[in-house]
């Protein structure tokens, strides 16, 4: 079946072309939506078929190349359009197309009546196409193509409602938010490109297997590898919204909610994590980069979670939660627990997609209201949304035996065992914050008395929206069992599945294979307690004891406004970077340098060329005798050169 892997890529491309070219002429939303969803669903089926096929093989034999054609072939530089089907890429394919399919179906209901309905599905399919190229690529350049493709779709979809206002720091329209996401990502992409140049210089190829096979003969700490991995990680901080480039993700919430769920929670933003796992061999060779990744991940986890504590926009809370969870994933990567990080990518895709879609359902019901202070009591009018949202909240907070418990807990355990106590403490604190802000949000949105005006008539969403919610909530609940810790099952099935891809890195890192089971269980108990405390506080304060929150705000007003204003990072960037760049461009680069120097040179040389042309064209007299004379003169010159030169 794996020889049909190209179909995985092809279906979304066809969907994109169909809706993109013909969508505007199709009156029926159902047809457009069905084709868009089917394109992704078929890809999922093909992926699932290959998955079943691979299960039948030995773990070492579960890797296939699917070449499509030679893309670039010049000198010593050869790049193919070729796809690599292996346990890691296939897992990502299943996540992207599986969750993607559900979100497509959801969008049929959510985007109902929108004048850009066909445009929306066109972009979504293009996104899936690009994302699949990213995860299935067998070389860095094709991965980069996908990487840029998802960035483009992210931009297009953030600004999807381009005539809608969206407030923010130096942002007025949704288009500004799209620009911000795109430009901030350019910084990361630049790092990715530099990394590719260095990889080609060092290894003479951009092909994954060639590079990774060669890299296994290096000794850890070799300096060029440090720069390669650091620059790759810079790329990851852009795409996966890590410090210092995380600022774009919260503003990306300007896009329609399914977009936030698909691109800015479940799939695209985890591309950086996937990339690190894919290049795990390189990262394992650079202990310094690993430390940087672990620290950045931990800091991002705690900073974003602390901002999430006080946000009032339902999507903003989820956005900061996403940034924080991505921090966890990088923390896992940084301590060498690559499989665990990918495990969290998967569980996070389930519960965060469910949460975002749930928030979309709420926003839909509340007629575009997003402020949780104006909600409350919704659990009676929209029970399905409430229950799915609640299950996912428990999952993200890390309540056993839901999926988030297994993945987050293993990250915390590994950050302690292979990292340090400090990493674990930061991670555990962020977990406490997570439980707190989740149940603050659940309580304010669904519990208590309604705080909305009489003009609002909330109702449960249609079944195209609720069915995906139910499926995702189910996955969020049980999805963690595939990665049960080794002391419960014989061996962790999730890690064994990824082992063929990640083992080379593990051999380089040479981490101790078995840690103490007692310690693992002990830490696990602590995280359960942390989750329960967070849940209790969030629930109690925001259903019965609002006074506690008010008193806290009164006594620590500076802290509250620091968090509410997101540590003033946007303002700082604006003053320190954006403003000087804009002013410098306007005053110096444009009016002085461009107009004066560049245009001067360009226009000057153009005038000279033109003058030369007017002289040279006089050779063309139109008289044949002159022509013959010139030809004869030319022949004499050539013969002279041949014999005298």
């Amino acid at each position: 079946m794996h020889e049909y892997a190209f179909l995985i890529i092809l279906f979304p491309l066809l969907g994109f072309l169909f809706n993109g070219l013909l969508g505007r002429f199709i009156k029926s939303e159902k047809l457009v939506g069905a084709i868009g969803s089917a394109a992704v669903g078929l890809s999922f089926l093909v992926g699932a078929g290959i998955f079943i096929e691979l299960l039948g093989y030995d773990p070492e034999a579960r890797s296939f190349m699917v070449p499509i054609f030679d893309w670039i072939s010049t000198g010593s530089f050869h790049v193919q359009i070729a796809y690599q089907v292996d346990p890691l890429s296939l897992l990502m394919v299943l996540i992207v197309t599986g969750v993607g399919f559900l979100i497509h179906v959801y969008s049929i209901g959510y985007m109902h009546g929108d004048r850009g309905f066909w445009r929306f599905f066109t972009y979504l399919n293009l996104f899936i196409f690009a994302m699949l190229n990213l995860v299935l690529a067998d070389n860095f350049l094709l991965m980069f193509l996908g990487w840029e493709g998802v960035g483009l779709c992210s931009y297009l979809l953030i600004g999807f409602w381009y005539d809608k206002k969206f407030p923010g720091v130096s942002i007025t329209w949704t288009g500004d938010a799209g620009n911000k996401a795109f430009i901030v990502n350019r910084i990361g992409d630049f790092g990715f490109m530099l990394a590719m140049f260095l990889i080609f210089k060092e290894f003479g190829s951009l092909h994954f297997n060639t590079v990774f096979d060669a890299a296994q003969n290096y000794t850890p700490g070799y300096e060029p590898i440090f720069w390669i991995t650091l620059l790759l990680f810079v790329g990851a901080t852009g795409k996966s919204a890590q410090i210092p480039l995380f600022v774009w993700l919260p503003d990306a919430m300007a896009g329609p909610t399914p977009v936030s769920a698909l691109i800015h929670a479940a799939t695209m933003v985890t591309a950086g994590v996937y990339m690190v796992a894919r290049c795990s061999v390189l990262f394992a060779l650079s202990p310094d980069t690993m430390i940087i990744i672990a620290v950045i991940g931990a800091l991002t986890a705690i900073v974003a979670a602390s901002i999430g504590l006080v946000q009032n926009d339902i999507k903003k809370v989820l956005a900061y939660s996403t940034v924080s969870q991505l921090g966890y994933m990088f923390m896992a990567m940084g301590v060498g627990a690559f499989a665990v990080g990918i495990f969290h990518v998967m569980t996070h895709a389930f519960f965060k997609a469910c949460l975002f879609l749930g928030s979309g359902s709420v926003i839909h019901a509340m007629h575009e209201e997003q402020d949780i202070r104006h909600m409350g009591g919704l659990k009676r009018v929209m029970p399905i949304t409430y229950w799915t949202f609640l299950i996912s909240s428990f999952a993200i907070a890390g309540f056993p035996p839901l999926s988030g418990f297994f993945s987050k807990d293993e990250i915390l355990w590994r950050s302690f065992a292979d990292g340090s106590l400090l990493l674990w403490l930061i991670g555990a604190t962020a977990a406490l914050f997570t439980a707190f802000y989740m149940f603050r949000m659940v309580s304010l949105t669904f519990e208590g008395k309604p705080r909305w005006g009489p003009d609002k008539h909330p109702h449960e969403s249609p079944s195209t929206m609720t069915i995906p919610l139910i499926i995702l909530a189910g996955l969020a609940a049980v999805g963690g069992f595939v990665g049960m810790p080794a002391f419960i099952t014989e061996h962790n099935p999730f890690e064994s599945w990824l082992a063929p891809v990640l083992d080379p890195a593990a051999r380089i890192l040479a981490l101790p294979a078995h840690h103490e089971t007692g310690l693992e269980i002990g830490l696990m108990l602590i995280s359960v307690v942390v989750a329960i405390v967070g849940w209790y506080m969030g629930r109690t304060i925001y259903t019965r004891r609002f006074d506690i929150a008010d008193r806290f705000v009164q006594s620590y007003r500076w802290l509250y406004s620091l968090l509410l204003n997101k540590y003033y990072v946007d303002e700082a960037y604006h003053t320190a970077i954006v403003d000087p760049v804009v002013k410098g461009s306007e005053k110096f680069l444009w009016l002085t340098f461009d107009v004066g120097v560049i245009d001067g040179i360009v226009n000057g040389s153009a005038k000279m060329t033109r003058a030369l042309a007017d002289v040279l064209k006089r050779i063309q007299t139109g008289v044949v005798q002159n022509y013959a004379a010139i030809i004869f003169f030319g022949i004499l010159c050539i013969l002279g050169l041949l014999f005298l030169g």
């Binding site: 153009a606 040279l616 063309q620 030319g634 022949i635």
Partner: protein, 474 residues
């Protein structure tokens, strides 16, 4: 007799074209008003020829006592020139019907010229090279003066003939000198004796004159003077064929003789070729800027493109030759397209030939304008079009064989060219239209343009389709 039969079948594309063209002459002499039939017969014959080219691709070797190459390179050349002829036929019929030169003899004439091109490109004996060149040239002299009531057309034919005869004299003299030095006119034989011949003054002089003769046909400076007058005066469909087929065939012969068979490297000849390349690129591109007539602009552009292709000659060997072959394809598709648009847009009595006449075309005929824009962008060498990779491979070949300075001159020259190519686009899209008149879009011409554009995109996105084949030819 058996030998002759097997040789004829080995050169099946040429044989088939000869048969079809003779058949056309016979049919035409009996049925004077049967032009539609002739048109379809010609197209059918071309398709058969292309098919035979594909079939014979894998039987490589020589035919007629080492006088012609067969299979591989030869098959590809046959396919290219037959395709160029096919595109030309598609463009010609509506054009000639409009401008009043639609005589039945036109179709066999185009095929005769094609036979000359195929022979010239695949000849491995200098006598055959000469025969091919003359068959091609003499037919083109006639075709240049095809619209016999137009005085510019007559002028073009006469100028082309006079200067062509002048250049042929040198070419023939060169062949004679080579024969004198080596005792044979056969390239296979000469290449076996190359080591001994490299220091021979008479041989070098012969090569110099042979080079000059072919440089005249590819329109390299200073042998380019006929080009603006001839391209401008000839019927546009004939200009299209001359600038693509004839130039391509002469380049194929140059590459085959000098790079593949003689393998002149690091010699005086190479310096001469480099010099020709530089002055062709510079003069062609610079003077093109000063042109106001679109056909003259394309003529100077054609001179500049000859300069680019000569870079591949300087680079020599496999990589240079494959780059030239790729460029021939890219340039054929693009220039047939560009001249094709001109032929559609041109009106009776040589009207609508100024670049300014294209003002506002984008509003009146958006498809035609878009196609023209594609051709201009491809000529300028902008990705993802075939023209980009054509230039890229040529410059790459120069860099890899140590002629980086030549690549730099090439890049600078093509920078200048962007100006006059984009001017056409600017005029079409941003200038106010000069008239409301709609030109007709004949189906047959549009098919030709559409195929050109499709090919330009195809080889611009997937250049490896062609370049890998070319690299494995020799």
């Amino acid at each position: 007799m058996n030998n002759v039969l097997s040789d004829l079948s080995a050169t099946a594309p040429i044989t088939a074209t000869v048969i079809v063209s003779l058949l056309l002459v016979v049919v035409h002499s009996f049925t004077r008003e049967f032009k539609t039939g002739l048109y379809w017969m010609t197209l059918g014959g071309i398709l058969i020829g292309i098919y035979l080219g594909v079939v014979t691709f894998h039987h490589t070797g020589y035919a007629f006592n080492n006088m012609l190459m067969i299979g591989g390179f030869a098959s590809l050349m046959d396919i290219f020139f037959l395709s160029a002829a096919g595109f030309t036929i598609l463009l010609s019929r509506p054009y000639l019907e409009r401008t009043g030169g639609h005589y039945g003899e036109y179709y066999p004439m185009i095929l005769f010229a094609t036979i000359g091109m195929m022979t010239l490109a695949t000849a491995t004996d200098l006598i055959m090279t000469f025969v091919g060149l003359e068959v091609m040239s003499v037919t083109l002299y006639v075709l240049a003066g095809w619209t016999r009531k137009v005085k510019e057309s007559n002028e073009a034919a006469l100028k082309y003939f006079l200067l062509g005869a002048f250049a042929t004299g040198f070419l023939l003299y060169g062949i004679a000198l080579i024969y004198g030095a080596s005792g044979t006119t056969n390239l296979v034989g000469i290449s076996e004796n190359m080591e001994a011949l490299k220091g021979n003054v008479i041989f070098i002089a012969g090569c110099g004159l042979l080079l000059i003769g072919l440089a005249f046909k590819v329109a390299a400076v200073p042998f380019h003077l006929w080009v603006p007058d001839v391209y401008d005066g000839s019927p546009t469909s004939v200009s299209a064929f001359m600038s693509t087929g004839a130039k391509g065939a002469a380049f194929a012969a140059l590459a085959l003789i000098f790079s593949v068979k003689f393998q002149f490297m690091d010699s005086q000849v190479n310096i001469v070729i480099a010099l020709l390349a530089v002055i062709s690129m510079v003069l062609g591109n610079v003077v093109a800027i000063a042109q106001t007539s679109i056909k003259r602009m394309l003529a100077y552009s054609s001179i500049a493109h000859a300069g680019y292709m000569l870079i591949g000659m300087v680079a020599g060997t496999e990589i240079g030759v494959s780059a030239i072959l790729f460029y021939i394809v890219a340039y054929m598709l693009t220039n047939l397209g560009a001249f094709g648009v001109v032929s559609i847009f041109e009106k009776e009595n040589r009207k609508n030939l100024e670049i300014e006449d294209y003002a506002g075309l984008a509003r009146r005929r958006p498809v035609l304008a878009a196609l023209m824009a594609v051709f201009m962008f491809s000529l300028a060498g902008i990705p993802p079009l075939a023209g980009f990779f054509g230039k890229y491979y040529l410059f790459l070949a120069a860099v890899e064989s140590g002629y980086t300075w030549l690549a730099i001159v090439g890049v600078a020259a093509s920078l200048v060219s962007v100006y006059y190519y984009l001017r056409v686009v600017v005029v079409m899209y941003f200038h106010d239209q000069s008239s409301e008149e709609l030109v007709l879009l004949p189906a047959s011409s549009m098919v030709s343009l559409g195929l050109s554009a499709a090919g330009i995109f195809l080889f611009g996105v997937l250049p490896s389709l062609l370049i890998n084949t070319f690299r494995n030819l020799f």
